[in-house]
């Protein structure tokens, strides 16, 4: 029971706490605090298991993957590796508007930092696992331009020992007996005919080595995670009522954060600790090279991909795993010109922006959003009225998402 004589003192204490609380919270409402907390990198947590890749968290497999990731021999001209486009000193992307492998692609390289937390891969999400994503550029004519047969030859020649430590014993085959360009292709190509001529048993062995190569690269890419940024220091302070930490952002940056989670509605798509929902949206980005229909083109091919999560090469149980594929809404119309929401972690350090590098600056991106908001140019962009001052504040906030250990990257 409360002593009635202490009541005035108690009320005063409560009143002081409320007052101090308001100050400490930087005037954020309880809902805003939850939204800020949802962006905090601490909530990223450990990576979930990847049931489609039983080697995903094997250090020795990741070590092999890292070597292959940086190995230019895995390209038709021996000049291109994964790291050619996913450059360590540029947030694992590059400065080009369109990725350049052995030829020119039609889209920009995506940063792969933290990508293992997502469900879909590539700008259009045509691959449903990280390891299957890693395989696609190898056999793409304008990226690495090689074949799975060539991959098997390279593994036998240069990685025999470490491969066998990481995976099973290499099969008793001689990949060098087969044409370097032999690979399955949808067209009636020489490569395809060469592939068809290989005995089935050896085709299986070669494809298994190819798949394991992808799983090794994926195991390495899983280790690439974003580091805390200035925003995270501030968000921790907001969440934990830590007064000194509230000074980590200046007034301009805080206004930008308020716009980001409020009037600007950026958080609709850029949510979670990666500031991306990993989903696909039509945001009216102008075409660059013809019309790019984005996810709509591939949405019905996902499940039939040779290396899908439900395929024989996946380690997942297709009945209980691969929920993102099993429950996918494959309605073509809703994905017309839709592209994946990129993470905004480190975004200020790695222009240009959008799927074909359409914008050089973050302010250019935001002005585009303002221009198309609420129009028929985009299906779901509603940002209210954004002023030039708002754009400056949002850019100031986006600059606080740069990892503190990466503060000079890209400069």
């Amino acid at each position: 029971m409360i002593n009635i004589r202490l009541l005035p003192a108690l009320l005063l204490l409560v009143s002081c706490n409320v007052s101090a609380g308001s100050r400490v919270l930087d005037n954020w409402t309880s809902t805003e605090r939850v939204l800020i907390s949802s962006l905090l990198i601490d909530n990223l947590g450990p990576l979930a298991l990847d049931p489609s890749n039983k080697y995903a968290d094997s250090p020795i497999v990741a070590k092999l993957g890292k070597k292959i990731f940086n190995d230019q021999r895995f390209s038709v001209n021996s000049k291109v590796s994964c790291s050619s486009c996913h450059q360590k000193n540029y947030n694992f992307t590059d400065k080009l508007m369109q990725a350049k492998g052995v030829g020119l692609t039609s889209r920009r390289s995506m940063s792969i930092v933290g990508v293992a937390y997502q469900r879909w891969f590539f700008w259009d999400g045509r691959n449903d696992s990280l390891w299957s994503q890693a395989l696609a550029p190898l056999e793409n004519a304008v990226e690495h331009g090689i074949s799975r047969t060539r991959v098997a030859q390279l593994i036998f020649k240069h990685y025999r020992k470490v491969y066998q430590q990481a995976f099973d014993k290499l099969p008793n085959i001689t990949p060098d007996n087969y044409p370097v360009t032999a690979r399955p292709d949808n067209n009636d190509t020489v490569s395809h005919q060469q592939w068809l001529a290989i005995p089935d048993r050896d085709k299986e062995h070669i494809t298994r080595i190819f798949v394991n190569t992808g799983k090794a690269i994926a195991a390495f890419v899983r280790t690439l995670k974003p580091a805390p940024a200035l925003f995270d220091i501030y968000a921790r302070a907001v969440v934990s009522d830590d007064s000194p930490g509230l000074n980590s952002l200046n007034a301009q940056q805080k206004k930008g954060l308020r716009l980001f989670i409020g009037k600007g509605k950026c958080i609709n798509c850029h949510n979670g600790p990666l500031l991306s929902n990993g989903e696909f949206h039509h945001i009216g980005v102008p075409d660059k090279i013809g019309t790019d229909f984005g996810r709509s083109i591939i949405i019905n091919n996902i499940i039939n991909n040779e290396f899908s999560c439900m395929s024989q090469w996946s380690d997942a149980d297709p009945k209980t795993d691969c929920a993102h594929v099993r429950f996918l809404d494959a309605d073509v119309a809703r994905y017309l010109r839709a592209f994946k929401t990129p993470s905004l972690r480190d975004v200020a350090t790695r222009p240009p922006y959008m799927h074909a590098g359409q914008f050089d600056t973050l302010s250019g991106v935001l002005k585009h959003y303002r221009q198309i908001s609420g129009t028929e140019l985009a299906d779901e962009v509603f940002h209210d009225h954004i002023t030039d001052e708002d754009i400056d504040q949002l850019v100031a906030f986006l600059n606080t998402l740069t990892s503190l250990n990466n503060i000079n990257a890209g400069q």
Binding site: S30, T31, V34, L35, S38, I267, N268, C269, N271, G272, N277, G278, E279, F280, A323, H324, R326, F327, L328, D329, A330, D331, R334, D379, E380, F382
Partner: protein, 161 residues
């Protein structure tokens, strides 16, 4: 007996569908000041009462951008649990004119009045509306649930299931 059970199961599988999610012609609706996030709701004409729980969630919070399942329970107005209903589903964010990017599957669990809704995923924070069309022997009615996703803990008001 066993044959009847198989026929019933097939019937239930067929009866669970997803409502058309086409938002063409709709207009953006602004979020009201107060949103009723009750997890139990009576149907529009009062024929049914439905409630849901997030499966395998100790704290009954709708997860943001995570594929998960709901356990749905349907009663008749007088309280009898109803199995074997045709359950159709749609989701929308009234402020955005779109719904989920997944296509949930709804099936009867075999327990009285219980259904499993698999593949639920709310990929954006904010106000969501879930509509269930329940049909029983030619009687149809709609149940609406409002959700505020990613904005804090919205616990179940009712744990009946």
């Amino acid at each position: 007996m066993e044959r009847n059970a198989i026929i019933l199961c097939i019937g239930l599988l067929i009866s669970s569908q997803v409502l058309a999610n086409d938002t063409v012609g709709e207009v953006v609706r602004q979020r009201p000041d107060k949103v009723n996030t009750s997890t139990t709701a009576a149907s529009s004409k009062g024929v049914f009462t439905a409630s849901y729980r997030v499966k395998n969630a100790e704290r009954q919070v709708i997860p943001l951008n995570t594929i998960h399942s709901w356990q749905l329970h349907v009663n008749a107005q007088e309280g009898t649990s109803l199995s074997g209903l045709q359950v159709q589903f749609s989701s929308t964010m009234p402020e955005h004119l779109h719904g989920m990017t997944t296509k949930p599957k709804i099936s009867s669990t075999g327990s009285s009045g219980q259904y499993l809704m698999e593949g639920m995923n709310f990929h954006m924070p904010g106000w969501w509306e879930i509509t269930l069309k329940l049909s029983n022997d030619g009687v149809e009615d709609f149940v609406h649930f409002n959700l505020l996703v990613g904005e804090g803990e919205h616990r179940h008001n009712n744990n009946k299931s």
